[in-house]
């Protein structure tokens, strides 16, 4: 099983390009707020801070150049780890995907944040007048999903909206902050109207990773309810806090 339960009292080896997730409040919440890719092999414990990741923060940080543009670092707290059994070629594919996406990095600052960020769909192309694709827009989940899809691992099946549970404004606010209570912001991010919306949540990624490696490679996960915004859904012992 690719899920690595990080202990609080010692570190655990986590491989490069494992998927890192975190909670807004490690003591009180199992709502998965953010997902990212681990930059390099690390020794991590539950709640490890300043873990170096590639991600759509915002801003998008996918390599040394974008890292420098974002102020020299791209880190997040690690509460959850999903480490699919990647082989050498998978790693090579991810490195190549990152090199590709880094070419599309936008200027840092608010202009870049807004232009390259999307809530729904989680990944999409910004296009020219005739539909020619220019650069990709992501949210943190779309970034991770698209990366793994590039090596033929589809973690979540969002090809049909029917595959995704309805999500309330309250849940979206938990994920994206108070700004999404403003309709103009929601419209800009692809979730117009009053909702509920069928969108991909970060928790779905970890429910997908909570399966056997072979199953993950063979079939994408279809979330069963919006309760999968939390991972795990049931409370687990506090000494194995993830």
């Amino acid at each position: 099983m690719p899920i690595v339960y990080l202990p609080t009292d010692r570190t655990e080896s986590v491989p490069r390009f494992a998927i890192v997730g975190n909670y807004p409040d490690q003591a009180a919440s199992r709502f998965v707020k953010h997902v990212a890719l681990l930059q390099s092999d690390e020794q991590l414990r539950f709640g490890a801070a300043d873990v170096r990741v590639w991600h759509m923060g915002p801003p998008l940080v996918v390599g040394e150049r974008s890292s420098a543009a974002a102020g020299g670092g791209s880190t997040c707290i690690a509460h959850l780890i999903g480490a699919v059994d990647l082989d050498r070629f998978d790693i090579e594919g991810i490195v190549t995907w990152l090199a590709d996406v880094e070419k599309e990095n936008r200027p840092s600052g608010i202009r870049g944040f807004i232009q390259q960020y999307t809530i729904d769909p989680p990944v999409c192309w910004h296009t020219a007048e005739d539909g020619t694709r220019l650069y990709r827009r992501f949210n943190c989940v779309g970034f991770v999903l698209d990366c793994y899809r590039s090596i033929d691992i589809n973690l979540v099946d969002d090809t049909s909206k029917d595959n995704l549970p309805e999500v309330s404004l309250e849940t979206i606010e938990s994920a994206y902050g108070r700004s999404v209570t403003t309709e103009t912001i929601r419209g800009r991010m692809g979730i117009s109207g009053e909702g509920p919306w069928r969108i991909v949540l970060a928790g779905y990624v970890f429910h997908s990773l909570s399966r056997a490696n072979s199953e993950i490679r063979d079939s994408p996960h279809i979330p069963k309810s919006d309760g999968e915004r939390d991972f795990p859904i049931a409370q687990i012992p506090s000494d194995k806090s993830a």
Partner: protein, 376 residues
């Protein structure tokens, strides 16, 4: 007292400074505050205001980067409203009211009470800013490029057509500062231009990319890649050879992988009408494909990206050696590479037939369709 406006960038400070020993807000906002309010507040009041903003900045999760407007309330003299544009475009309003408080050691101090970010977020439209002020900022070549760009971004929200027209007009000029020109390149990617302007903008973007690819300045590569992408989306198919300089030799900014992808993008709407017109660029693309698919050269990252983009460009150009390239791909035995190329070429075929069902009879379409099964 007339309403005064300014907008400046806030940067989060990593260290907390003493309450009255200095400011943790960025020097830009501090300078702006001191300049705009020099006649309204004395030095002590300004110090307190700046420190209080810094405190609010430290306590807010979303106040990390942003752009602020500072308004002086015309009715309640001395009351300030400070709008912070957060990363998602939300506006958080901080209101500051100066009041006099007493301190046993220092005597009477001026202090601002700062309200927390508003309870109900306001609509994110810069209506509180006069568009004339924004235009003044955008047109003021003595203002920093980042401030001009911020103002232009706001105008994209409210006066998009005029803002796009301004970008088109500006980007075609050759007397711009490098910073402002770079900002305009990114705006060009976010603008849809009227048909009659596209050719001139395309040529100008190519010229900018060509000139800036010789730059060793950090960050110039992003501008070059953006200019190249946007130019490629405007290049008529019969002029695809205009991308050739970006494939010919190495430069401080490596344009190879982006230019190869741009070749594919030039033909995203339709295959080449006469593939023989693209012979020169086809030959160069082919060279890249076979060189970088060589097992001794192929490696994850930039080299693999060049290989992948070159194969897709060959397909878009209708290159008859596509089957040979696919054989090389297969011999590398990378499932992810086969998957990526197949995925992109299927999308290309769909793009072609989606716009013109008749194009399935053309050579480039048939070339891809007949050879795709070889990748399985």
């Amino acid at each position: 007292m007339p309403a005064q406006l300014t907008h400046s960038r806030f940067g989060k400070s990593s260290k907390r400074q003493g309450a009255r020993s200095g400011s943790a807000v960025s020097s830009g906002i501090e300078r702006a505050l001191r300049y705009y309010f020099r006649e309204n507040f004395d030095e002590g009041q300004l110090n307190v205001l700046i420190e209080t903003i810094a405190e609010a900045q430290r306590e807010s999760n979303t106040f990390r980067y942003g752009y602020a407007t500072v308004e002086v309330d015309e009715v309640k003299r001395g009351k300030l409203a400070i709008d912070i544009y957060t990363p998602l475009g939300e506006i958080e309003r901080f209101e500051a009211v100066p009041s006099r408080v007493s301190d046993v050691q220092s005597g009477q101090l001026d202090e601002f009470s700062i309200q927390p970010p508003l309870i109900e977020p306001r609509q994110s439209s810069p209506t509180s800013l006069s568009t004339s002020v924004l235009w003044s900022t955008v047109r003021d070549s003595t203002t920093s490029a980042s401030q001009r760009a911020d103002a232009l971004r706001m105008l994209f929200e409210t006066e998009q057509e005029s803002a796009v027209g301004y970008v088109a007009d500006q980007i075609c000029r050759e007397d711009l500062s490098e910073e402002w020109q770079s900002a305009l390149v990114f705006f060009a990617e976010d603008s849809h231009f009227p048909f009659h302007l596209r050719q001139e903008i395309c040529d100008r973007l190519l010229a900018i990319a060509l000139s800036m690819r010789e730059s060793t300045k950090v960050g110039s590569e992003k501008v070059v890649w953006s200019a190249l992408r946007r130019a490629a989306s405007l290049i008529p198919r019969e002029h695809a050879n205009k991308l050739l300089p970006f494939l010919l030799s190495k430069s401080p900014v490596d344009t190879r992988s982006v230019a190869l992808k741009c070749v594919e993008r030039v033909f995203e709407a339709a295959p080449p009408a006469k593939p023989e017109e693209c012979a020169e660029i086809s030959s160069r693309v082919q060279t890249f494909a076979f060189k970088f698919l060589d097992p001794d050269i192929f490696a994850g990252g930039e080299n693999a990206l060049i290989a992948q983009n070159a194969v897709c460009a060959m397909a878009a150009l209708g290159d008859e050696r596509l089957s040979d390239a696919f054989a090389c791909v297969n011999s590398l035995n990378r499932r992810w590479l086969r998957r990526q190329i197949r995925f992109r070429l299927v999308a290309l075929l769909e793009s072609w037939t989606g716009r013109d069902p008749e194009c399935s009879a053309r050579q480039p379409f048939k070339n891809i369709q007949e050879n795709l099964p070889l990748l399985d």
